[in-house]
Amino acid sequence: MSSYTAHFKVWRGDADGGGLQDFQVEVNDGEVVLDIIHRLQATQASDLAVRWNCKAGKCGSCSAEVNGHPRLMCMTRMSVFRRDETVTVTPMRTFPVIRDLVTDVSFNYTKAREVPAFVPPKGVAAGEYRMAQQDVERSQEFRKCIECFLCQNTCHVVRDHEENKEAFAGPRFLMRIAELDMHPLDAAEETGLNRAASAQEDHGLGYCNITKCCTDVCPENIHITDNALIPLKERAVDRKYDPLVWLGSKIRRRGQ
């Protein structure tokens, strides 16, 4: 096994400000950036703040920016860097810093709450749900989301425009709307909720100009833009401007 000493720059500070701090630190075969942060905690900076849980890309806790790229620290191998390369680790930029690499991600929990929940179909008892695999697959892709919030951090609509945070749910939660909209048994329509139209009107889908930056950073490789956002936009447009669809949905609802 071979080890070497790497040069790290880690952002340290809190809401009142801070800056990059230099470290020389040992790196061993097969290690990831999160291992190095842990080594710093154990040997040089015991109070260095960082979030993590699974260390296997499953929980979405360890999001940060490594050399400016939004990444999971536990899935970023040290072998992708040259040995003489300085590795710079900074907190996600879109969310307010709490301390060091830990940011205040409450924005995301607020947005999650604003998306109306799954509406179970009336008259179908638990145990009686029947759905074909091919029909659940589209929503299943979106349910792979580990809520790392890297897409939320990356989307320029909020990354560079604090003022848009109020009106824009962000890719993760627009995708949640798409997921429910594509759920084979969701009965929102029967309660008078048109999910696609509401994405447009209430959750800021219109701000998205399909740059796909969210898709690029998703560690689960979910095709957020192509499979969720674009179809949602199409449906929103259809539902809004197609009077027949509108009429049809009214009649169907009245018949129930």
Partner: protein, 649 residues
């Protein structure tokens, strides 16, 4: 009194994994104002990492399955040390708990006729595990999380406040259960982000804090698994049982070193993966124990036939319960037939096409590619045992999940003991979380409602002050060290919490690990006492805001306490059973089956000595198994586990 935030709720749930969230949903639906507290962000609890599936005898894949078969498998897996009533409730209620998730929006993989698909797993007679690829835990926790959000949306529509009846306090750590005489009065803790201290007054507290794996060096568990709930219960006066039984999962990653211990799901074997040693031999055929001889294939041919025709073939020995497979791998490596990195080979590439593997095991494919440069669709993985699951836990009433001896305290999920006996079957944890999470929430709600507002008490100022002093002490130790007097006034230099933690992990791994010996465990007891002494001098740098060194210093108390329970109980039980293997007592002993080892706190020490509580151990006879449940087994099989007198009684 120390400056603390103070809240009041009807029911407090400590833990936001599957068990905690299910309990909170139930308590809130029963009309209780409910608080959930968790150490991580909402949605990140350990449950999110569960991979393979959730066991429930829905009979979708094989119509012969039913609760009786599931019950039998569970008792066999636990070598009959399970509390039979818990195993019965679990087997009966699991299907309803899974179906209920669908009404909350869960999307499981489907069968051809549109029902929930079920896969094979070790120890389960029929395909029984509902799953979503190999990310079932994520689906479970997200569904429960979204159900909580939907309840909050209802409350918002009604009151204008999302948190009117159900609030999640995320990134908060509970350090003490508060009491009013013998009864629960609330919890004490700190906010990780700010370091502020808080009290929640509540007559009913549900512990759902998960396991203890972080006391071991090689583990599949995350930093959260420091045995907090186990320790909180002990400190509150509740007993723990079965603490000697720890499940070492047979297949953890062994290379590279930084990922050693990370889990490789059992679904790999359930879906056809085979184990081979460095000589290419499929060695599991040599390790089928007598009690399971009739149920497992004797040849490769028979085993391979089972995947397509399970009715006329017996199952492959790779699908023995986990304790058996873990010991077999351990023996192969010890005998010099291990892989270059000290494991054995697990290969699924010869059974399934690359496409099938990517569809059925996507996160394993991803994990090996990203972390180990191994393509599991083309080559074998290297795997070895890793500390995975704690069978032991809070001694609860089977029906109500109430902790014995402390009114108002409940426990569910991995922190509760009894359900799994000496060894848990894969998939039986996620179902356990839902079945007993719901029951804990239900009975906590009933208990709280039954008390009425007048008979509620809150903890005394002295209790709160003592809890605060305990939490703040490591800062004093760090300062004290500089001026020549330690936190306890003894003048010793401050100890680094990371160093103590590493030493503890080494001790448990080496001396109380997968294969145990009397003298080594005696040595472990001594080392643990030494670590406990030193932990009193633990000191931390910096301030209280999101300070991981401080957080670890707090968790150390719990890990040390729980490790002592494990070592003491393991030393006492002079037999081998399930997750407890004694090199010096290799056989299973029917007399020991009738005995639970119960751990209790010796005597509550004063707050200044809170680093050093000690544990006592006593033997308690098991409740005799109900006759109609015994009748589900053949007498010949029962004789392997139960004494003749028990059977003839």
């Amino acid at each position: 009194m120390t400056n603390v935030e103070r809240h009041a709720y009807d029911v407090v749930v400590v833990g936001a994994g599957g068990a905690g969230l299910r309990a909170a949903i139930e308590a809130r639906e029963r009309g209780m104002r409910t608080a959930v507290i968790c150490k991580s962000l909402f949605g990140k609890a350990h449950t999110v990492m569960a991979e393979g599936g959730i066991a429930a005898s829905m009979g979708n894949a094989n119509e012969h399955d039913n609760w009786q078969v599931h019950f039998r498998d569970t008792m066999r897996g636990g070598k009959f040390l399970n509390h039979w009533r818990m195993a019965e409730l679990h087997a009966k209620e699991a299907p309803d708990r899974v179906w209920e998730l669908e009404t909350w929006g869960a999307l499981f993989d489907r069968t051809a006729d549109g029902r929930i698909s079920q896969r094979n797993f070790g120890g389960h007679e029929y395909p029984r595990l509902a799953h979503v690829g190999d990310r079932t835990g994520l689906e479970l926790i997200r569904t429960l999380q979204q159900k909580i959000v939907s309840l909050q949306q209802e409350d918002h529509a009604e009151t204008g406040d999302y948190e009117a009846r159900l609030k999640v306090f995320q990134e908060c750590t509970v350090t003490r259960i508060l009491k009013d005489r013998d009864r629960v009065a609330g919890v004490f803790g700190y906010v990780r982000e700010s370091g502020r201290l808080f009290v929640i007054d509540a007559p009913a507290v549900v512990l759902a804090t998960g396991g203890i794996g972080k006391s071991f060096k090689v583990t599949s568990n995350s930093w959260e698994y420091t045995g907090d709930g186990h320790a909180l219960a002990l400190l509150a006066g509740a007993p723990l049982i079965n603490m000697e039984f720890i499940q070492f999962h047979p297949t953890g990653m062994v290379w590279p070193p930084s990922v050693k211990g990370i889990l490789v799901t059992e679904s790999v074997r359930g879906d056809g993966g085979v184990l081979r040693n460095s000589e290419g031999e499929r060695f599991m055929f040599g390790y089928v124990p007598d009690v399971f001889k009739e149920k497992y294939a004797q040849s490769e041919e028979e085993a391979d036939g089972w995947y397509t025709d399970p009715d006329t073939h017996r199952r492959p020995p790779e699908l023995l319960p986990r304790d058996e497979v873990a010991r077999a791998i351990n023996s192969e490596v010890k005998a010099g037939r291990g892989t270059p990195h000290g494991g054995v080979f697990l290969d699924v590439s010869t059974r399934l096409s690359a496409e099938e593997i990517k569809r059925r095991l996507p996160s394993m494919h991803h994990q090996f590619k990203e972390l180990a440069d191994v393509d599991i669709t083309a080559e074998a993985m290297e795997v070895g045992p890793t500390c995975h699951y704690m069978m032991g836990g809070v001694d609860v009433e089977p029906d109500t999940a109430a902790a014995r001896g402390v009114p108002g305290l409940f426990a569910a999920g991995e922190v509760a003991g009894g359900m799994h006996g000496s060894n848990r079957l894969g998939g039986n944890s996620l179902s356990d979380l839902l079945v007993f999470g719901r029951r804990a929430g239900l009975f906590a709600a009933e208990y709280a409602a039954g008390l009425g507002p007048d008979s509620r008490a809150s903890a005394t100022a002295e209790q709160v002050d003592a809890a605060a002093a305990e939490v703040l002490r490591p800062f004093g130790a760090a300062e004290g060290a500089g001026t020549g007097s330690g936190g306890d006034g003894s003048g010793a230099a401050a100890e680094n919490p990371y160093t103590l933690h590493q030493e503890l992990q080494q001790v448990m791994n080496d001396l109380v690990g997968i294969i145990r010996r009397g003298p080594e465990m005696e040595q472990a007891m001594e080392r643990l006492t030494g670590l406990r002494e030193r932990s009193r001098q633990v000191g931390v740098e910096g301030h209280r805001q999101f300070n991981p060194g401080w957080h670890l210093a707090m968790d150390l108390r719990n890990m040390l306490l729980v490790s002592e329970c494990v070592a003491r109980a393991a030393l006492e039980r002079t037999e081998s059973r399930g997750g407890h293997t004694r090199d010096d007592h290799p056989d299973m002993d029917r007399l020991w089956r009738k005995v639970n080892l119960v751990c209790e706190l010796a005597a509550e020490p004063p707050a200044e000595d809170a680093g050093a509580p000690a544990v006592t151990l006593r033997r308690r006879p098991m409740d005799p198994i109900r006759p109609d449940l015994l009748a589900l087994f053949e007498r010949d099989e029962l004789l392997k586990y139960l004494t003749d007198e028990e059977l003839d009684a």
